[in-house]
Amino acid sequence: MSMSKWIRPAGRIAALCGALIVSSLVSASNVSKPAPSFTLPSRAGDTVSLEQLKGKVVMLNFWASWCGPCRTEMPLLDQMHKRYSSLGFTLLGVNVEANTQDAERYLKDTPVSFPVLFDRDSKVSKLYDVSAMPSTVFIDRKGNIRYLHKGYKPGDEGEYLNQIRALLKE
């Protein structure tokens, strides 16, 4: 077989690579609509509802202990909550696992200061149309969803901080 015989298949492969590169997904989007209300049990033992937090900037973070990027994100989220919670900001970690044992074990090793809620039957995940893990939703003081982040990549926390500050100013 000579080299020229391979140029056509190689060209097809190159075209295919191009097609694959083009079909990557977008990671964040901006929307503005009322955030669906919900009530969930928290790890502390009480129940937390979104209504109670009107007037504050709320960051909902949907996570699971089996999700690598979620675990990477956790310490950064904890820092954010500690830094801004006195300024009218609160972070709610919504754990989406049906069995909370693994989450409890993870949190014992890596404690966080923000409330962790358990969405065992995926009611809230469905309500918020969670389509990536982790998913982060920013809700403003009026109760509207303002920013939505799908997934987490190192560096995203910079964008989170900007958006928190912007929403706190309102």
Partner: protein, 78 residues
């Protein structure tokens, strides 16, 4: 002739990728339902150093070869 088959298979896959760009098939397993699939015991190749070795133990002694890859699955994060 089999080269032509291989290229046709790849073009078919390219078509599939093109479909994913336009059509929006709703995933029937939600990202928050992937706990079992993300479990380490469900990993397609949990010990790559071992599977590579066994693959060659067999390939060296048998006439057959190929089609041993695996990928995907897992947590579906990001």
């Amino acid at each position: 002739m089999t080269e032509a088959i291989a290229v046709k298979a790849m073009l078919a896959i390219a078509l599939l990728c093109g479909l994913s760009a336009c059509g929006n098939i709703e995933p029937w397993v939600k990202p928050y339902e992937r706990q079992q699939l993300a479990d380490p015991i469900m990993a397609a190749d949990p010990h790559p150093i071992s599977s590579a070795y066994m693959d060659h133990v067999f390939e060296a002694r048998e006439g057959a070869r190929g089609a041993l890859g695996s990928g995907g699955g897992g947590c579906g994060c990001n």
